[in-house]
C-alpha cells in the first residue's frame, strides 16, 4: 500500500482515491476457476495448522480495537448486521499511511491494545522482523476454505510463514497500471511512452516511495527485494525521468486524479483503474487504465492480529466473517477492489466484477505480480532507507 498520504483520517473510498494501491481493467472473460483453481495452480494448497476437522469461528464479543485504513473496518450492511448480532463493538484508529501501523504498534507498545490490523503483502518481511504478526489459529477460521487457491496458497510466505503457520488472511487486492486521459493522448502500451517530449509537464507521479521503487524494478526486470546495490543508480535514473516529466510529485492518488480532471496532467506514473471511476464521478469519463507491456505489480491487503491484542477471538471471528461470500463481495464493491473468496464473484455488481480479469487471474498476476518491498537492512541489496533517501532527493531535484 502506498507509503504516503494525507495525514488525516479518510473514508476507504477516499483513501483509494487519495493514496491507494492499484487496480487495473483488463479484458475479462470466462473462467476464473480455470485460472485460479484446480491443479494448474497459481499457488499450492495451503498448509493449515492444526486439525482441519471442523473448524469453527469463535463466538466472541466485546470491543475490537482496529488499526488500519478507514473502510477496512467494512462498514457494509452485511458486516454491520453480523457485528451487532455478535455483540462486537469496533473501536477504530484510522491511518493515513501504511507506516503508521508499525509506528503505532512499536511506538505504543503493548499499551496500544490493538486487536486487528491489516498489512500490504510487501510489508511482510518488515512486520516479521518487527514481530508484529502473530500466528492465527486456522481452526477458528472456517471460511478460509472459500479462498481462491491462489489467495489460499503460501506464495512468497506472504500469509503463511515458512513453518506453515498462518500469519495473515488476504481479503482484498488489486493491480497497478498506467492511467491516462484518452481524450488527450493515445493509448499507451509502454511505461516509456510517458517519457515522450510532448508530455513534458503533463505526467503526474505520486509520493509513494515503495510503490515507485517496486514499479521501476518491474520495468527494469529487477526483483524489488533483491536489487544489487550497484543497480540503485539505474532505478534513480529511471524514476528521475518520470518525475521530470511532471511538475511536482502528488501527495496521493486522489491528487493525481484531481490533476487529470483539471487538465494539469494527462497521464500518471502510476495509477489504477479505480481512478477511472473517481474521475468519472467528477465529470471526466475519458480516464483509462491499462497494464503496459513491461508489466506492473499487484497488491493484496491481509488481516492480521498483532501481539498487542487483548481480544484475539473477536479478531478471529471478524476475519472469518470478512471471508463470507456476501461480505467479501460487498466489501469489494465498497472499496472498489478485488475479492479473494471464490464464491464472492457471483455476488459482485458488474462494475466491480469488471475491474479484474477473474477468468485469467494467472495471466494478470504474472504480468503484475505481488511485489515485496526492499529490505530494511542489507549489505548486498538496495534497502528501503537507501531508496527513500534517493527518492526524496529526486523529488527535491537534489
Amino acid at each position: 500500500m502506498a507509503r504516503s498520504a494525507r495525514r488525516v483520517g479518510m473514508a476507504r473510498r477516499d483513501f483509494l482515491r487519495r493514496t491507494g494501491v492499484a487496480v487495473v481493467t483488463i479484458g475479462a472473460t470466462p473462467s476464473i476457476l480455470a485460472a485460479c483453481g484446480g491443479d494448474d495452480g497459481t499457488g499450492d494448497a495451503p498448509s493449515p495448522t492444526g486439525p482441519a476437522a471442523s473448524p469453527e469461528a469463535p463466538d466472541a464479543s466485546g470491543t475490537l480495537n482496529f488499526l488500519s485504513w478507514e473502510g477496512y473496518d467494512i462498514p457494509v450492511d452485511s458486516m454491520e448486521a453480523w457485528r451487532k448480532d455478535q455483540g462486537i463493538e469496533v473501536n477504530p484508529t484510522y491511518i493515513a499511511n501504511h507506516d503508521e501501523i508499525q509506528a503505532k504498534i512499536k511506538g505504543g507498545g503493548a499499551a496500544a491494545g490493538y486487536d486487528l490490523i491489516t498489512y500490504y503483502q510487501g510489508y511482510m518481511p518488515l512486520y516479521t522482523e518487527l514481530e508484529i504478526l502473530t500466528p492465527l489459529d486456522e481452526n477458528k477460521l472456517p471460511n478460509l476454505s472459500g479462498l481462491f487457491p491462489f489467495w489460499a496458497s503460501d506464495v512468497n510466505n506472504f500469509w503463511i510463514d515458512p513453518e506453515g503457520q498462518r500469519i495473515g488472511v488476504p481479503w482484498t487486492w488489486g493491480s497497478i497500471g498506467l492511467t491516462y486521459n484518452s481524450a488527450e493522448v493515445d493509448e499507451m502500451s509502454s511505461w516509456y511512452d510517458l517519457l515522450d517530449p510532448s508530455l513534458k509537464g503533463k505526467v503526474a507521479t505520486v509520493d509513494d516511495p515503495a510503490g515507485n521503487f517496486n514499479l521501476c524494478c518491474k520495468i527494469l526486470d529487477l526483483q524489488s527485494n533483491e536489487v544489487p546495490k550497484d543497480r540503485l543508480g539505474d532505478i534513480v535514473d529511471l524514476m528521475s525521468q518520470f518525475v521530470a516529466q511532471g511538475r511536482g510529485v502528488s501527495p496521493s492518488f486522489g491528487d493525481m486524479t484531481t490533476k487529470l480532471v483539471s487538465g494539469d496532467a494527462v497521464a500518471c506514473f502510476h495509477g489504477w483503474a479505480a481512478m477511472n471511476t473517481f474521475a468519472a464521478d467528477q465529470g471526466v469519463d475519458t480516464i483509462k487504465t491499462n497494464i503496459p507491456e513491461e508489466g506492473s505489480h499487484s497488491f493484496c491487503d491481509s488481516y492480521a492480529i498483532p501481539p498487542t491484542s487483548e481480544n484475539p477471538d473477536a479478531a478471529l471471528a471478524w476475519i472469518n466473517e470478512a471471508l463470507d461470500p456476501v461480505v467479501n463481495a460487498e466489501a469489494a464493491e465498497y472499496l472498489v477492489g478485488g475479492v479473494t473468496v471464490e464464491a464472492s464473484v457471483e455476488n459482485l455488481n458488474k462494475a466491480t466484477r469488471g475491474l479484474y480479469p477473474y477468468d485469467d487471474l494467472d495471466g494478470l498476476l504474472e504480468l503484475a505480480p505481488l511485489a515485496i518491498n526492499a529490505p530494511t537492512e542489507s549489505d548486498e541489496f538496495v534497502t528501503f532507507p537507501e531508496w527513500n533517501e534517493a527518492f526524496q532527493g529526486i523529488k527535491a531535484g537534489a
Binding site: R247, G248, D255, G263, D264, N388, Q392, G397
Partner: protein, 301 residues
C-alpha cells in the same frame, strides 16, 4: 506598632500581588511541561541513541547528528524550508501592515465587520484553501483562463502552480489573517493624537511611517514575522500540494524518517537542528531590534 502592622500588611499584600499571577500560570506551565518540555527532552535523548528500526537503543552516539548534517539532501531541503519561510514571513508582514493600519486609523464603522471577515476567513479548512489556490493557479484555472481569454497568452503560465511561487502565495493567504490581527493589536498604543502630533510637527506620510509607526510596530511585526516564518518553514503539507521540486521542505524528510523509515534518532536529530535554525533566526532578529533600540518602545497615554 501601627506603622509596623501597616508595613507588614503592605508587604503581605505586595507578596500576594506577586504570587497570585504566578499561581494563575501554573496550569499553563504544567501543560507545557507535560506536553511540550517532556516530549522535547525525550526527543533530545532519542537523537543521541542508536537506531534500531522503529526503536532506539544504546550506546549513546552522535551518529544521527553527523548523518543529518552531512546529508546533501537535508541541506537542500533545509535551504528550501528557510527560503519558503523567510519569503512567506516577509511578504505576509509587509502585506499585513497597511491592512492593520487601515483598520486602526481609517476604517470606522466597517472596522468590526472587516475584523469579523478576517477572523471568519480562518474558519475555512487548511486543505480547502490549498485546493482553492489550485483552481486559481492551475493550467485551466482562473488566472490562466482570464489571460487566455484576453489574448495575452497562448500557453498556460506553468510557473503559477507546482512551484515555490504557488507555495508562498498560498501560505501568505493562510497566515495573513493572523498577522493582521497581531499587528492590529500592536497598533493599540498608536493613538491618533500621536500621529497628529507628528504631522503637526511636519512629518509627511513617509516620515510618519519611518519615524513613528514602524519603530513602534517593530516589535509586534517581528513577533508576527517569527510566527509566520516558523510555521511556513516547518510546513510540509502545502509544498506537497502546490510545490514543485523547489517546494519540498525538510519537514517531509523528518516525517519520512519517523514513520516511513523508522529511524527515530535521525528524525529527532534533524528536528533539533531545524529548531536550532529557528532559534538562530529569532536570536538574530532580536539582536537587530535591540541594536536599533526598537525592542521595548513604550508609550504612556
Amino acid at each position: 506598632m501601627a506603622s509596623l502592622a501597616e508595613a507588614t500588611t503592605r508587604t503581605e499584600a505586595a507578596e500576594r500581588r506577586r504570587v497570585r499571577p504566578l499561581i494563575a500560570t501554573l496550569p499553563a506551565v504544567a501543560w507545557l511541561l507535560a506536553f511540550f518540555a517532556t516530549p522535547l527532552v525525550i526527543f533530545a535523548v532519542y537523537s543521541l541513541l542508536t537506531n534500531e528500526l522503529y526503536a532506539v537503543g544504546t550506546p549513546f552516539t552522535l551518529d544521527a547528528y553527523r548523518d543529518a548534517l552531512t546529508s546533501t539532501l537535508n541541506r537542500t531541503l533545509a535551504r528550501n524550508s528557510l527560503e519558503v519561510g523567510l519569503s512567506t514571513a516577509a511578504v505576509t508582514v509587509m502585506a499585513g501592515l497597511p491592512i492593520a493600519y487601515w483598520l486602526r486609523f481609517v476604517a470606522r464603522r466597517s472596522r468590526i465587520a472587516v475584523l469579523f471577515l478576517i477572523a471568519a476567513s480562518m474558519f475555512a479548512s487548511y486543505l480547502v484553501r490549498i485546493y482553492a489556490w489550485r483552481t486559481v493557479l492551475g493550467s485551466r484555472g482562473l488566472v490562466n483562463s482570464a489571460l487566455d481569454r484576453a489574448g495575452l497568452i497562448d500557453q498556460p503560465l506553468g510557473f503559477l502552480l507546482y512551484s515555490r511561487f504557488a507555495v508562498i502565495v498560498a501560505l501568505v493567504h493562510i497566515f495573513l489573517p493572523y498577522v493582521v490581527l497581531v499587528l492590529y493589536a500592536g497598533m493599540g498604543p498608536l493613538g491618533e493624537g500621536l500621529l497628529e502630533a507628528a504631522q503637526d510637527l511636519g512629518a509627511k506620510s513617509s516620515l510618519l511611517w519611518r519615524r513613528v509607526i514602524i519603530p513602534i510596530m517593530a516589535a509586534p511585526a517581528f513577533s508576527a514575522f517569527v510566527f509566520v516564518f516558523i510555521l511556513s518553514a516547518a510546513d510540509y503539507v502545502t509544498p506537497q500540494f502546490l510545490g514543485g521540486k523547489d517546494g519540498v521542505t525538510l519537514g517531509v524528510q523528518i516525517q519520512q524518517n519517523f514513520v516511513g523509515v523508522g529511524n527515530w534518532p535521525l528524525a529527532s536529530a534533524t528536528s533539533f537542528l531545524m529548531l536550532l535554525a529557528f532559534v538562530a533566526v529569532f536570536a538574530v532578529g532580536s539582536f537587530i531590534l535591540r541594536r536599533l533600540k526598537l525592542n521595548d518602545i513604550r508609550l504612556s497615554s
